[in-house]
Every structure is written in structure tokens, then in C-alpha cells.
Subunit: 664 residues, 2 copies
């Protein structure tokens, strides 16, 4: 069964390599099923996801009625709808995550559980394919914002959003297990929607209020080859902002002007990033360059003025939205975990389109920081928002600044659970010329190149250490190009676009060698290019110096003026109360502070920490200030709040004057 | 059963008189059930409608599958939908007409037939109230323009249009028979639509592509007193042209700007006039003066520049639409029969709002001319379009210029059949002050005035003779005002607004007497006002001189320049080939022609005819013209084409020069 699944995946994801006539991304990912993590950083997070988070999330869905909703809609049990109209999507996302897990880690009890769950999902589907338990259970008693009839309130109902996550789940489940049980439900639903929505005057011309279905439809297209699904994805994108087709929902839902005319990212950040991802998919599969040009402009705008140093996007609590240029407050940063995931999905697609390493730079920044902060080390507590500063007392939207086991709107927990197990799929990619090495994780990958299959081994302590050893094992000697990403941070770039900069250039440069001999570093699109014939066992070594570096923000970012953040390798650090006597908001880190680092294996699951001298500054109660020397300790930002609610700060005052300003 | 029905009608239509606190038209019609025609003109048309047209129309509906469609939708029989998506409405309109007939003429076999038909209609209703056989029979095989799902294509689907006619039919059937069988179907449907459409964000915000439901909803409101129906009617009107709620359908459907901002009548004339009628109802029932001001402007525009001398409206074949100002071509006049009916409905409502006689002048012009031309004397042949000129060979949209037994789109035959039996309801009206006598028809009416019931007898040979005798029989002597319409034509006005004028003033004035004594003619709003105490048997005599008069059009009407039409009383005449050697298009009627009239009892069911001297003018084949004297004979326009296809002309050249122009 697994063999079938993997070959199905290969067939699904590598069409452009196996069959050049098919339009697709010029670069194809090496699927996560072909890459195994064996490292100390990610592998255990994925194992926690498998053993803790997946069962935990499913249990939460059961406790909160999310799964009973399907049974009720399917008349398998009595009762009213419980929860919020988009709760179905949480279940789909966890199924997607569980399917990914199942694809690489057989688990008959999980497999059986999914079968039972899918039985309920299938039962909830109405005869014509409609699936939306919030309406089906009792159409006379609808939860708020569902619309009095099908499709009446698309801007809010999430009917199409839920469907998109169902398609992603169905695609994952089919590819993982070879079973068509959920796929058939998805296709029946997609057939209905493809009949109802479209360009004909007879059809509905609305668009999803919350984008997502575009991504799901593309996955159905990849599995079935039926262009109907691709065309519908494209229709929803073309129709967006088109006032001839529907009454526009406005900028909140990126439905204010046609997508090709959207120059600035606006509105709800998750919706936006899912949309951009869908646009990239459609651009790749249709060859439409206009979408790509639009995406290039949007991407430049985000990295140049709207992305946090943690990779987080979506600054505003209000509407969970992008802010204005440089509107990047720290304590009130929204930075939804889902937005980080969506932004990662988009950046990876931008890489697949363009082959530029800076997209992976952004992706990596998200992974190690603004995404990973969204889930506790224990795997059963989550952040919905990921601020860059906290007084330890009051969090935004989530009450206290502690990770929560669940939310009424639990999009983030269910998004984490599906994104984590897909990470191995982001490590390698391939095009007609050869191999891309994008992420650095100890493990083993199997890469199908046009000529031959190549097994790739990596050994590294990344992100704590910058030495990476890559061993190539083509089946027989084979000439191909290896492109190794040289991270932007190792070349003194924080983010493309100059929103942030390192305080001084690092004197050390990355070093590359092949079979022990120094190799010239020829950079193309940010990749060190090694073009040669490779023998089994050939060994590439990359050394990325990892000093602690101070990050400064553009002066236009008011919140970060006079402040610095600490970064080492791809990891952004923070000060947390737990390591600093409960108080970090009064600490000043002068520019001449010397940093010392060590790896603390028993702290927070094993993390590098940074120490140095600081000034602790308090108002003296008589309009003056009292200062005292202090030693600070910084931990990786992603790991904060694993020790209860406490103070935290990423951006640190460089001077006493700046610190005093904070208290005004 | 009839007594119950009539009292129900009284309760339904006279709320403002019986209960002054209820907002409604300040003037209330005396229902058709309280007025009996006993004349030689209308009574026989109504009898033909009852005995010929109703059964004929039902038979056509059976032959064409219109009635089977209900049975099929109700799974009472197998088979696919036949016909066009709005065919259901034809059946509803015939039921409405049959119910009117039943109300005044008990007919157990018709009653039983309706019961059987209503069983099929009820079976066709989906469990939630939806009723639209075009979709219900086979949702996978929809006729064109129905929309892939419910409400998807409101601009074209006629889902709401059909519903409106169902409500009118249901109201009529309930009031006629006291049976709730069809009313329950209508209310269930209206409840569904009132749930789905409305101002809430959760609801749909579309409007009917073809107005009509507004009128129907008001009728349901009058019966049930449930403001939900009135509110929905108002919502559909407020929502029209509101681009915040839906994508506008454009001027064709009067959905280009909000109704209150519509200064010019545009687009499809039937839709427009149904909308104006609905606006008048809503204005009366809500007291909203803004609707009335909008209607006043629209009405002035129609009568001043867009109405034919026959009362017809909707000049253009293209989109069945109003033309520009003064765009009133004759041979290609569209003048749909349905538009005439809709315009009559609107004008009557304008009278009920304002109490001005000129609305009844327009109504009367429509009745005796542009409406009545739509149905043959035999009662089983119909005109869809009513041009003012024909070469006898080629009609527009209807093939040969002959009345047809039926059309694919048979809105007109089914509209005639419901409008004719309602005509007695237009004769009298009442307000708190007393009685209005609007139309002149021999017969008997029973009028409920605030103090007492009054029986009104009329004796007249109208429209062939202008002497009208009205005998009043209050139960006991009673003081009240009698307002008798003095027709505009008798005071030298063709239509309000000056679009047409009579060629010279008639020297004779209308004469009024009471109990044989000349009464002063005090005109208020066009009515001769007689305010006194009336004893049983008091007798009012009105004499309206009826010379043959020449009508000239404003010079701005290019088609009528140099032409004249003939009118006598309210009747517009035409020359028809059958009376003029087959040729009327070459006839010139010089201005000095003397007219002779006579009543020909054996011609066309008994008509007044006009004779005079004319010039017959032909091209001589050598760029010159040959003329000869001729005698012409004109017949009432409404009666043309009852003797096969032949030439016809309403507007006649006044000079040889003008006649020659016609042939260029």
C-alpha cells in the first residue's frame, strides 16, 4: 500500500520532469515521503506531532463536537451543530496531517481511525456533493454567518474555504494510503462547486471569502489530471476583485481590485498568503506570466516593509491584517501562526517558480522563528498570535500570554499539525539540471533526477552549528548540478529588501569544499553551484559561520528604533523573564555588549543560549531613573512561553534613553 | 361559499375605509365582485373570456406540457420539463383569471378543475417551499437561463417572477372560493423567499430580473396582514439599482440606479410597469412619499413622450423596451399586450393614490385600444405585439400579422385572461367622502360607503354613444359626494402632457344633469363633483359629445408628422384592408374630409364605423404619382385583424406629399 502511495505521489508531483510537455513549476519539490529527518531538532518535533499533537487535536475535535458534527449531518447521530461554521476545516487539516504522518510512519490504529472518521465525513455529504455540516445538520437553525441558503454569504460562510481544506486532506489521504474514500467525497464536492461557480451567466460568480480552495483544487487537478479543477481555481482568482461578477468584499478579503492589479498586500494575512500560493500554483500550471509579475510585486512589498524579523506577517489584530508599510509593532504584533504557515507555503512556491534562494531564506526564517513559536515543545499547546514582546500578563486575543490547548477558532493548532510533517518536503528540490539543497537537516533523501535516482545524506547540528556535510549517492556515477543554498544571513542579509540589516558585516564567509578540497563559491541566484559528475559517496561540506549578530531595523519601523534583535544562524533570540529574574522589559543591551553562547541540552529541549552584560533600568519614583548592571540570557524566540506566562522581548533597547522612552 | 369570498374580499381591499388607522390608498376600489356588467360591449367579452378563453388557455397549457410540468415536478408523472423556464407563470395567471370568473359566476366543473390543478401545483412544491418546475423536475437537465442552482441567475431565471404570479393566483383563488389550497402553497413559498432574501448580511441581496413578485407579495400582505410580505416587497424595490447589494442587471431590468433616482422610464416595458405598480402599492401601504414623487416623474415622462395614441407603451422590439423620447414608430411599434395591461395596473394605482381623473383617462385609452387589440373577438387568438400599422404580410416577432392561438412565450394570452374579468373592479371607487364613477358601462354596482351601502346602476351605449345615466340607490337617503369622471377627450385633451392634440376644439361640451335638472359642472381633479344628499332612485345624466376627431401628434414624433389619427369617444380607429379594397397604405385623408359614422351591428361584433372621402395615391412607375378619389371606412383599432391578415393603419397621411414620403 505504501509503495503504491509513493509512486502515486511521484506521478502527482513530478509531471514536469517526467513529462516536459506538461506545464508546471520549473522546479519540483522532492516529496516529504522521500526525505527522512534524523536530526535532533526537527525529527523530535515531527515525532511529537505524530504521537502527541495529532491524537491531541483529534481528541479536541471530539470533545468540541467537531467530529460529531459530521455524524449529525450524516444522520448517524442526533443533535444540533456545535461550534463555528468553519470547524469542519479543522478536522480536514488534522486528517491531512495524519495522512502525512501515515505516509512515512505506518500506524494501523491511526489508519483505522481515519477510516472511521472518513465514514462520518462521507455520511455528512449531501446527495449532490455539498458538504458543510453547519448547514446540513439543521438548515432551520444555522450558526451565525453561514448565510440563509447555500452560497448566500460567501464572504463569511467559509463554505468554499472548508472545501479547500477537504481537498487537501483528501489528496494527502489518497497519496498516503491509496484509498479513494475521502478523495471520492472531495471530487464529488468539487464537481458540484465546479458546476455551480464559473464564468457562465447561469453560474454563480462569487468567490470564497477566505481563500484556500484554490490550493485544494490544484491538488485535485494534480491527482486526476482533470482540468476542470484547475480552471475553477483560476476562475476564483480571476473573479476576485471583479466587480462585474459579484459585489466586492473589499480589501479585507483581497477582493477590492482584480488580483493582477493588487500591488500592495492588504487585508487578512492568512487569506492573502493562501491566495498568493494559489496564484503561484495556477501561474505554474497555466504558464500565465501575469500572475507571476503580480506576485513578484507583492512579495517585494512584504519583505521590504511588512515582515517581522521572526518571519511573521500580519501586524494588525484588527482584521488579522497586514498593516501599512513599516507598521510592525512588537507587543501588539498579531503574526498569526496560520499566516506564518501560509507565508511559508507562498515563499516555497515562489522558489519553485524562480529558483532564487531568497525565497528559502524567508521560508527558513519563518520555520525557525515565527512558525515554530506557534506550538509548545510538548506538542499540545498553541499560540494563535505570536507577538515579539509580552509583559507576561496580558496577551492579545488569547488572554494570558500562554499557549492554549485549543481555541474556539482552532485554525492554528490544526494548521501546525499538518504543516510540521510536510517539512521534509521542503529540503530538496530538483529540476532538469539537477538538485537543490534548500534546508539543512540531518537525514536522508531520495531524489529522482531525470537520469537516475540519487540518495542524499546530510549530517549537521543545524541550526545550532553551521557545519553541514552532504553525501551524494547516485546509483552510478552521474553528471548533474548541485545547488546548495547559501543562506542570506550568512552573507550579511537579514531579509531581501533591506527592511533589516546586521549591525556590521561578519568577517567570516561561508566555506565550501568537495571531497575535502575547497571549492570555488560560484553563486547563482543565491545558490553555490557545483556542476560535475558525481560518484557514489562524494561529499560536500559547507561551513556557515554562526556568530551572534545584532539586527537593526530600518528607521521607518518606529517600534524598533533604537532597538536591536539578536540572531544566530537562522534563529532569532529573545529575552524571557524565566531566565532573567522575571524582568526583561527594563533591560538595555548596549551596543558594545560581548555575547557568549553555549548549548544547553537540558533547557527547552536543548537550545543554544546567548549571554552578555546588560543594564537594568528602573524609574526611581521621583522622575529619575536608577540603573544597575545585569547579566542577561537570551533563548530562541520559538521556545518562549514554554515555562508559563512571563515577560519576553525580541527587540531590545540599545541605550538607556531608548529604554526610558518605552516607559513613557 | 361565495358570500364568504366576497366578505373576505371586502375585508382585504377596504382596510383604509373600514379601519382608518391602517395605511393604504386613500381611495379604495370597489371590487369587481361587487360590480356586474350588463352591457353590449364588455359583458360579452367577459363571457367569451369565461366560456372560450379560460378553457382554451388551459387546454393550451395542457397541450404544451405546462401543466404536466407541475405533475412531473411533483413526481405524479414521469418525464422531462417541457417549454420555457417561466411557463409556470402562465398557468398561475390563468388560474387567477379562472378564480375571478368563479367569484362572479359559479362553475362547479371549473372549480373542480382548479382543485385538480392546484393538487399538481402543490405536489410540485419542494419540501422547503421552493416552486419552479424548470429546476425541480430534473436539476441535472435545466432549461436555458435557469441558473445552475436556485437563485444563481435571478436576472434571467424568473424564479421570483413566477412566484409573484403564483401569489396573485393564490390570492384570487382564496378570495373567490375561500379555499386555502393554493394560498398555503403561496405562503410557504413566500416564507421561503422572505427568509432567503432581505437586508441581513446572511441573506441574498439579488432582486427579481423581471418584477412582479412585489405586486403578489402585497396581495399576500392584504390577506394575511403579515408585514413580512410587505417588507419583502419593499426590500426588492429598495434593493433595485443598489450596487452595494448585488451586481446590477442594468437599465433593461430597471436595475441601473435606485428606483427613487429613476427619472426616465427605461428598459423592458412590462417589467417597468409592474415595478411602478409595486412601488405604488408599497407607497400606499407604507406611507412613503418618496416613492410617489418618483412615480409622478416617471408617469409624466411616459404620457409626455412615450405613449402611443392607442395607450400602448414599449416602442422597441429590441429588449421589448421603452424607446427614447418621441421614439414612437408605427409599423414597428412593439406595444406588447402585457405592457398595456401592466400600464393599466399602474395607472389605476396612480388614481388610487392621487384621485386625479387623468390616470383613468390613460387607463380607458388602454382598455378600449391597445389592450383590447391583444385578443380576438373569438377569444382564442392573441396579439403579442400591437403595431399601429401593418402591410398585412409581415408582422414583427409574430410572423404574419394575424392573431395567434398561442406563443412559445405566452405571457400575453394568459395575461388577457386574468385582466378581462377584473375589469368591473375599475368602474367605481370610494373614499371617505363618497363615490367615484370612473368608467362608463351598463351594469350594476354595490358600493360600501362609510355610512351605508349604495347600489349604483348605469345605463349607456358607451363607447358608441356618450349618454350615460347613473341611478343611485342608497339604502336610505344619504349625503355623500359623487365624483363623475369627465373624460379628458371630451374636454379636448388626448393625453395629459400634450404629446397629442385634437385638431381643433370640439364646440360641444359635456352636459350634466341630476334628476333631469342641469347641474353645474364643478370640476375637481377632472371629476364633476356632486355633493348632496341622495335619495334612492336619484338619477344623474351625463352627455359626452362624440364627434369624430382628428388627433395630431407633437412634431417631435417623426413617425406621425403630417399624419392624423381618428378618435371617437375613447375609441381610436384604423383603416383596415378588409374594408378598403385590401389597400390602406396608399390612402390620404385630407384635412377637409367630412366624417360620417354609423353603428354596424353585424360587423366585428357590432362596431361604430367612420366613413369619408380619401385620395388613393400610387406611384405611376415613371417617378410620378397617380391619384384617384376613394371612400374610406375606418373601424375601431382594437377590432383589426379579426378578418385575417391584412393592411392596417392608425396614422393616416393628411396630404399627398406626406403619403409619398412614406414610400421613399
Amino acid at each position: 500500500m505504501r509503495r503504491l502511495a509513493i509512486s502515486a505521489i511521484l506521478a502527482a508531483v513530478l509531471p514536469s520532469i517526467l513529462c516536459p510537455a506538461v506545464k508546471d513549476y520549473p522546479i519540483q519539490p522532492v516529496p516529504f515521503t522521500s526525505v527522512k529527518f534524523q536530526d535532533a531538532f526537527w525529527a523530535k518535533r515531527l515525532e511529537t506531532n505524530r504521537t502527541v499533537t495529532i491524537p491531541f487535536d483529534f481528541r479536541k475535535c471530539e470533545e468540541t463536537g467537531r467530529i460529531d458534527n459530521f455524524a449529525r449531518a450524516g444522520r448517524l447521530m442526533e443533535g444540533e451543530f456545535r461550534g463555528i461554521r468553519y470547524d469542519d476545516s479543522d478536522v480536514f487539516k488534522i486528517v491531512e496531517g495524519a495522512a502525512y504522518s501515515l505516509a512515512v510512519h505506518p500506524d494501523s490504529s491511526l489508519d483505522t481511525y481515519l477510516d472511521g472518521l472518513i465514514t462520518k465525513i462521507a455520511a455528512a455529504q449531501e446527495p449532490d456533493g455539498y458538504l458543510y455540516t453547519a448547514r446540513t445538520i439543521n438548515p432551520d437553525k444555522l450558526p451565525p454567518h453561514t448565510g440563509v441558503v447555500r452560497w448566500a454569504y460567501l464572504s463569511q460562510s467559509h463554505e468554499l474555504y472548508n472545501a479547500g481544506h477537504m481537498y487537501e486532506a483528501a489528496a494527502a489521504h489518497f497519496l498516503a494510503t491509496g484509498k479513494r474514500s475521502l478523495l471520492n467525497v472531495a471530487l464529488k464536492n468539487a464537481d458540484l462547486i465546479a458546476r455551480i461557480f464559473g464564468p457562465s451567466e447561469e453560474q454563480l460568480h462569487g468567490v470564497p471569502g477566505h481563500q484556500e480552495i484554490e490550493i485544494g483544487l490544484v491538488k485535485l487537478f494534480r491527482i486526476t489530471g482533470d482540468e476542470k479543477y484547475l480552471n475553477l481555481a483560476r476562475y476564483f482568482l480571476d473573479q476576485r476583485g471583479n466587480r462585474n461578477g459579484h459585489v466586492l468584499y473589499g480589501a479585507y478579503a483581497q477582493d477590492h481590485v482584480p488580483v493582477l492589479e493588487q500591488k500592495k498586500p492588504v487585508g487578512h494575512a492568512v487569506r492573502a498568503n493562501y491566495m498568493y500560493s494559489g496564484m503561484a500554483d495556477v501561474a505554474a500550471l497555466t504558464g500565465d506570466e501575469s500572475f507571476i509579475r503580480a506576485l513578484d510585486g507583492l512579495w517585494n512589498d512584504v519583505v521590504s516593509s511588512k515582515q517581522y524579523v521572526t518571519g511573521g506577517v500580519g501586524a494588525r489584530h484588527d482584521e488579522e491584517a497586514f498593516g501599512e508599510d513599516y507598521e510592525l509593532p512588537n507587543a501588539t504584533a498579531y503574526c498569526e501562526t496560520c499566516a506564518a504557515i501560509a507565508n511559508a507555503l507562498w515563499n516555497y512556491r515562489m522558489f519553485l517558480l524562480h529558483g532564487e534562494s531568497h525565497y528559502i531564506d524567508v521560508l527558513e526564517r519563518i520555520l525557525y522563528n515565527g512558525f515554530l513559536s506557534g506550538i509548545s515543545l510538548s506538542g499540545d499547546r498553541f499560540f494563535y498570535t505570536n507577538p515579539l514582546e509580552s509583559d507576561g500578563k496580558f496577551g492579545f486575543n488569547i488572554g494570558k500570554p500562554e499557549r492554549q490547548p485549543w481555541f474556539d477558532c482552532s485554525c492554528c493548532p490544526s494548521n501546525v499539525v499538518r504543516f510540521l510533517p510536510s517539512l521534509p518536503g521542503y529540503v530538496y528540490a530538483a529540476d532538469a539540471g539537477g538538485l537543490y539543497v534548500n534546508l539543512f537537516v540531518t537525514g536522508e533523501g531520495s531524489v529522482q533526477l531525470p537520469g537516475r535516482k540519487v540518495t542524499v545524506f546530510q549530517r549537521t547540528l543545524y541550526p545550532w552549528d553551521g557545519k553541514i556535510v552532504i553525501a551524494l549517492h547516485p546509483e552510478t556515477p552521474l553528471a548533474f548540478t548541485v545547488r546548495i543554498r547559501i543562506p542570506g544571513w550568512s552573507l550579511n542579509t537579514v531579509l531581501p529588501g533591506g527592511l533589516y540589516r546586521f549591525d556590521g558585516k561578519s568577517p567570516e564567509r561561508p566555506q565550501l569544499s568537495v571531497n575535502g578540497k575547497p571549492a570555488g563559491m560560484v553563486l547563482e541566484k543565491g545558490y553555490a553551484v557545483l556542476d560535475r559528475s558525481w560518484n557514489p559517496g562524494d561529499r560536500i561540506e559547507l561551513v556557515l559561520p554562526m556568530p551572534v549578530r545584532r539586527v537593526l531595523a530600518d528607521e521607518a519601523v518606529a517600534a524598533d528604533r533604537g532597538m536591536a534583535a539578536l540572531q544566530r544562524g537562522p534563529v532569532v533570540f529573545c529575552l524571557e523573564g524565566a531566565d532573567n529574574g522575571g524582568d526583561v522589559l527594563h533591560l538595555v543591551i548596549p551596543d558594545d555588549t560581548q555575547f557568549k553562547t553555549r548549548f544547553e541540552s537540558s533547557l527547552l529541549g536543548g537550545v543554544q543560549t546567548i549571554r552578555g552584560e546588560a543594564l537594568r533600568l528602573f524609574p526611581d519614583g521621583r522622575e529619575g531613573w536608577t540603573g544597575m548592571n545585569a547579566v542577561f540570557k537570551a533563548v530562541p524566540y520559538y521556545a518562549w512561553a514554554n515555562r508559563g506566562a512571563n515577560e519576553m522581548r525580541v527587540w531590545l533597547p540599545r541605550t538607556a534613553e531608548r529604554a526610558k522612552e518605552s516607559f513613557k
